[in-house]
């Protein structure tokens, strides 16, 4: 096996590892913001995978898809971010998806201490 | 957000009552950019494409009308290149720093929320500074106070006063480079005065 195809296999494995790590964060949460950040990264990873595939297989067929993804990726996170802000302003704090974690536990304690 | 936001928008609306020619001149950079984008996307540069691009650009700016972006009228391509090179260097350096931080085991990175007061009053320059700062890894814009031209950054791995000052200095330097490239003269002078005062 020549070294360049070995390099290509390594690149594929690394991207797959990224997707797995990101998937873990999407499933685990703990808040909707974490999930949104993680799905943003998933989208960028998807763009990277498609571009890598183009470079390896010597074609440019998915380049328009990459362009549109890069342009529209922002809308999802903006929509979710606005929703979280409004929920907070209306007096309903964002519901923790997993109340047992330290992140939210700490914030809650401090909120209690403040009031 | 800011109470003066709507007022500024009204001012912009009032400005729009000026002559048609002036209006088009003011929006010319935006129109040129849109036409270029159109041509890039089609990948061809024929006369029909250019005319179609101009038509679509005018249509888009008419239908989705926004307050015009006011430019200072100064433009220095040399300083723009300096800014871009420096910006790219910071992106590379910062990416590697954040990547190293992710792999560093043992201790958790502390972060800080830093207030940076900018000299510029121009929305355009402020937006560019914010975008450039956001893209440099390690800093993230949390809040913008448009009236006072103040940015609030979240800086990762800033647990000493020196690191905080460095982050602040970086943003001010970015602003100064951008002002040199396309800011107005007196804002640049104020920024110069401030930077030389800091150095002493």
């Amino acid at each position: 096996m020549n070294p360049i195809s070995l390099l290509h296999i390594v690149v594929g494995i690394l991207l797959a590892v990224t997707a797995l790590l990101v998937m873990y964060r999407i499933v685990k949460g703990p808040t909707i913001l974490d999930r949104m950040i993680a799905s943003d990264v998933m989208l960028t990873t998807l763009i990277l995978v498609m571009s890598t595939e183009m470079a390896l297989n010597h074609h440019t067929r998915t380049l328009p898809v990459v362009l549109v993804l890069a342009g529209t990726a922002v809308f999802g996170s903006i929509a979710v971010a606005r929703y979280v802000s409004k929920q907070d302003k209306a007096g309903h704090p964002a519901e923790p998806a997993d109340p047992g974690t330290t992140e939210l536990g700490l914030t809650k304690e401090e909120e209690d201490a403040e009031h | 957000m800011s109470p003066r936001g709507p007022v500024r928008f009204q001012q912009a609306k009032g400005e729009r009552k000026r002559g048609m020619g002036e209006q088009i001149l003011e929006q010319l950079p935006l129109l040129v950019a849109l036409v270029l984008l159109w041509l890039f996307l089609w990948g061809s540069f024929t006369v029909v494409d250019i005319l179609m691009g101009i038509f679509v650009a005018v249509l888009v700016t008419r239908v989705f009308e926004l307050p015009p972006v006011t430019l200072s009228g100064r433009f220095n391509p040399l300083w723009l290149i300096v800014f871009l090179v420096d910006f790219l260097w910071h992106v590379i350096l910062g990416s590697i720093q954040v990547a190293a931080l992710a792999f560093r085991f043992g201790r958790v990175a502390k972060s800080a929320v830093v207030e940076v007061n900018l000299e510029t009053r121009s929305d355009f320059v402020m937006t560019l500074v914010a975008i450039a700062t956001s893209l440099v890894p390690g800093s993230l814009i949390l809040e913008v106070d448009r009236d006072k031209s103040t940015l609030f950054l979240h800086v990762i791995d800033a647990d000493t006063p020196e690191k905080i000052e460095k982050a602040r200095g970086d943003v001010i330097l970015t602003e100064r480079r951008l002002l040199r490239a396309l800011g107005s003269r007196d804002e640049l002078d104020r920024s110069d005065a401030r930077c030389s005062a800091v150095k002493r």
């Binding site: 360049i4 390099l7 290509h8 690149v11 690394l14 991207l15 590892v17 990224t18 790590l21 990101v22 964060r25 913001l33 974490d34 949104m36 950040i37 943003d40 960028t44 990873t45 890598t52 470079a55 380049l63 362009l67 890069a70 342009g71 922002v74 979710v80 802000s85 907070d88 992140e103 939210l104 700490l106 914030t107 401090e110 909120e111 | 984008l37 041509l39 996307l41 992106v91 910062g94 990416s95 954040v98 990547a99 992710a102 990175a109 502390k110 972060s111 800080a112 929320v113 830093v114 207030e115 914010a130 893209l135 440099v136 890894p137 390690g138 993230l140 814009i141 609030f152 000493t160 905080i164």
Partner: protein, 123 residues
């Protein structure tokens, strides 16, 4: 490929650029996993991937070697560069306002100071 040795070199450069992109991507994934709160994860998530995207798209352009590809790649990069700070800002602001961060990991909070000063200022 007109000439094998230069084609080989291009293949190597393309491979290394792809490797750099993949490594930065993994760094983003690891950072996403290991950083303690939403605001820190935001840093890990978006920033190294911009450089990764630059590397990978540069590899595509280099591999194709024609200007039509470059003409689509440049708007792609510019779009990504303009839009990703927007989403980072929106999520960061929402995270800060809803308190989705660990106070004990904030070394100094000048925004909080500013809000307090505004609250105590006589009208």
């Amino acid at each position: 490929m007109p000439n094998t040795s230069s084609g080989d070199l291009v293949d190597w450069i393309v491979g290394l650029l792809l490797l750099a992109g993949a490594l930065l991507s993994v760094a983003a994934g690891v950072g996403l996993l290991r950083f303690p709160d939403a605001l820190s994860r935001m840093h890990a998530a978006t920033k190294p991937q911009i450089l990764g995207l630059i590397c990978v798209l540069a590899a595509v352009a280099l591999e194709q070697g024609n200007w039509q590809t470059l003409l689509i790649i440049i708007p792609t990069l510019i779009l990504q560069m303009i839009t990703s700070p927007m989403s980072a800002h929106m999520i960061g602001r929402a995270g800060y306002r809803t308190g989705n961060y660990r106070r004990d990991l904030i070394y100094r909070d000048e925004l909080e100071d500013d809000i307090e000063r505004a609250a105590h200022r006589p009208e």
